[in-house]
Symmetry: C2
Subunit: 315 residues, 2 copies
Amino acid sequence: MNSRLTSLFAIDFPIIQAGMIWCSGWRLASAVSNAGGLGLLGAGSMSPEVLEIQIRKCKAATDKPFGVNVPLLYPRVEEQFETIIREGVKIVFTSAGNPALWTSRLKEHGITVVHVIANVKSALKCEQSGVDAIVAEGFEAGGHNGKEETTTFTLLPLIRLAVKLPLIAAGGIATGRGLLAALALGAEGVQIGSRFVASDESSAHPLFKQKIVETGDGGTFLALKKLVPVRLIKNAFFDQLQQLENSCATPEEMSGLLGKGRARLGMFEGNMEEGELEIGQAASLINRIKPAGEIVREIMDEFNLARKELRDSEY
Amino acid sequence: MNSRLTSLFAIDFPIIQAGMIWCSGWRLASAVSNAGGLGLLGAGSMSPEVLEIQIRKCKAATDKPFGVNVPLLYPRVEEQFETIIREGVKIVFTSAGNPALWTSRLKEHGITVVHVIANVKSALKCEQSGVDAIVAEGFEAGGHNGKEETTTFTLLPLIRLAVKLPLIAAGGIATGRGLLAALALGAEGVQIGSRFVASDESSAHPLFKQKIVETGDGGTFLALKKLVPVRLIKNAFFDQLQQLENSCATPEEMSGLLGKGRARLGMFEGNMEEGELEIGQAASLINRIKPAGEIVREIMDEFNLARKELRDSEY
């Protein structure tokens, strides 16, 4: 497969593994890159010191390109970018913040910069900031989420019309048919999170991986809609959040319950009831935990089969 | 184009115009059917007497198949079905209720029955009830909406796996690329609402049609999430609903504000601030009011072009 996106990253397949907190360390990122996709380290749950170790291990585990996802709201973001530049990482995905802040500085160091957006206004800002590609993330995505609640199906054609940048679809995609649909709507590749959390190489707790497999339709929900929208698996912690929201709690009360350690407690330490379990609606499409490389190959096989079906059908 | 869906309805193209309150009378339904799609009368805003007149006018305006959408929660639903049977309508779409209630009686009269669902459980119930096809409607759809908030991108493959019935995609679809993506995800056709509201033949008020053209991304939102979720254009009425919801109003208070006449006031009488304006996220993709037949042809042209692109690309 050959497109401007695969050329930009020098990868074989237009499949990007999302850089997710607590789930995507060097084992997962290198496995996806070795399989021909683009693996990303999720720096949002790493100190700059841990990030350095992870980058070095990833470089040792693959000769292929890989990248780092950095949420711009992270408190030690300055040090993280210093680590990334020092270690010679060539691809950075930024999210949760203003792309104008870091793009030009990263590009001075020869780094390819991709920014995650959820509306047209942010996409235009990416173009002005000199970003190399954008990820358009729909309402169905796991974790933090746009306030407009625009879904992947509507967001992709809107962004395609608004900007000329290479466009990566995220949210709701877990299969080869999903990749095909994303391309039909104007994307040039996909970023996949949930499905890679449920891989052998992900650093998610085994109980969290199992929980994803068991999650059916309606099993996730967007919590904190008025504060900082985040899609979670419904559990005891989620119920507490909903109760607070339904009783019109103040933002301070909500933040108090959230705390800092909830995501680690759930996704990394395996507390399925008291932890925060960030995952997308695509969890309902995931039935087995597999090696990440097998997931990449399966998606491409299904994509090719579905494309052939569509081509040969009487439509 | 030939598929089991086009065969089921005896139509040329797998495009169904949604039967929407206040917007889809005989002019719109007959225009879509005459263009090779399937037009539906929206009985949810019609008395049985008005429905009878509408059916007769539609029969006079087209020799092609057309249908009626009946929300099962409608108070005079019994009389509506009597009218439909008496007038010899051959296709009925039911929504907002239990498909087991009416399907077998309608089928005894040789009527093809389609039911609208938003989750796997309801899809299985449709299969058990002997429904002929289902519409899977995602979170991005206008008007009333499932409580699970599952989007079209996730819902379609889930329903495709769960049941073997012919599957129609709804929610977020307004273009030929949308049709292509829906087929990629396992649907066999699409139901399109918003785009046909903004057609010459729709009975929506001209100010409402114009409002749709002006609506950008983030311009609609799902209101009444805890009561009866409904996607609306943001206006003064929507703000009032949100304020009540944010202040933890009781369901009774919410219902009081809603009242009965709000949808008519907005969509039919053209009060853009005090009326209820039901429309989907796809409104953001609509830039012009056009004849319904031209919309059908444009969608098919874009579909064929996009399919060719996908086939000829190096992917």
